[in-house]
């Protein structure tokens, strides 16, 4: 990583469908991955719905882009913070989310979980440590 490396966080606050913010946020993440920054994603409020498993958009004529989240590991995007309170407020648990993983090159490609369940307070601290927060 070069001296230009910054800590980038993409903050996802909205439901995956209904508005285009989630999809166009993901487009920034994918393009941004080529810039080799220290990237993380955060899912808060209705944003937690973006990574709920079993999404089906067949009836609403929208592209189901949720499989793209599974590919983030291949783009070396391996830190996905999910806010515990946001899940609880919506009656969701970790089991309702997709199992998102990445392979650790330094540990013989061991499969590791990308999702990090954090409290609101913990996430605030993680955000404080960022250089750039893209809010979507």
């Amino acid at each position: 990583m070069s001296e230009d490396t910054k800590k980038f966080m993409y903050l996802n606050r909205r439901a995956p469908y209904g508005t285009i913010y989630a999809w166009e946020s993901l487009e920034v993440v994918l393009i941004g991955a080529a810039f080799e920054q220290d990237v993380s994603l955060a899912f808060v409020d209705d944003g937690v719905y973006q990574i709920v498993k079993g999404q089906d958009t067949g009836e609403v004529d929208m592209k189901n882009f949720s499989p793209t989240y599974s590919a983030l590991g291949d783009y070396e995007v391996t830190k996905l913070y999910v806010e515990k309170e946001s899940l609880e407020e919506r009656g969701l648990t970790l089991d309702d989310l997709m199992h998102l993983t990445w392979e650790d090159e330094d540990e013989d490609w061991a499969e590791k979980d990308s999702i990090r369940l954090v409290s609101r307070e913990e996430l605030a601290k993680v955000m404080e440590g960022q250089d750039v927060v893209f809010s979507f």
Partner: protein, 130 residues
């Protein structure tokens, strides 16, 4: 300080477009540098020269164009977002076989990499949106 600005909402519909302009103008007047202004989501609508607001209202596109002219601002419109929403320059019209253009010449259409680069190069990225 070196700022970059990201605008996520369209003109007139949402105050974000106004706030971004007012912030940018104030920063420039205070002697700060604006590395780039990046228009994303419906924010790309801030770049069409075909807007015709009522005469007693502000002209948001013209306002950006004039500020851009005065300070040589790099006003960048995201290509993917622009294509979805019908914001077209000569190059895009040619590539996609469109019969017209609508972008104001003070803006340019480019890729999302420009947003990432702006965030890397600037001291602060300020996002205006909903």
């Amino acid at each position: 300080m070196k700022f970059s600005i990201q605008i996520n909402e369209g003109p007139y519909q949402h105050q974000a477009a106004d706030s971004a302009y007012l912030f940018t103008k104030a920063a420039l007047e205070k002697g700060h540098e604006i590395f780039r202004v990046f228009f994303y989501h419906d924010g790309v609508g801030n770049s069409t020269r075909l807007t015709t607001p009522p005469q007693d209202d502000r002209n948001i596109v013209k306002r950006w164009a004039e500020l851009g002219e005065q300070y040589s601002l790099d006003l960048v419109v995201c290509v993917a977002a622009a294509q979805r929403r019908g914001i077209v320059d000569d190059g895009e019209a040619q590539r996609n076989g469109k019969d017209a253009t609508n972008i104001d010449p003070h803006f340019r259409i480019s890729g999302l990499g420009q947003l990432i680069e702006a965030a890397v190069q600037s001291d602060r990225l300020v996002v205006f949106g909903d």
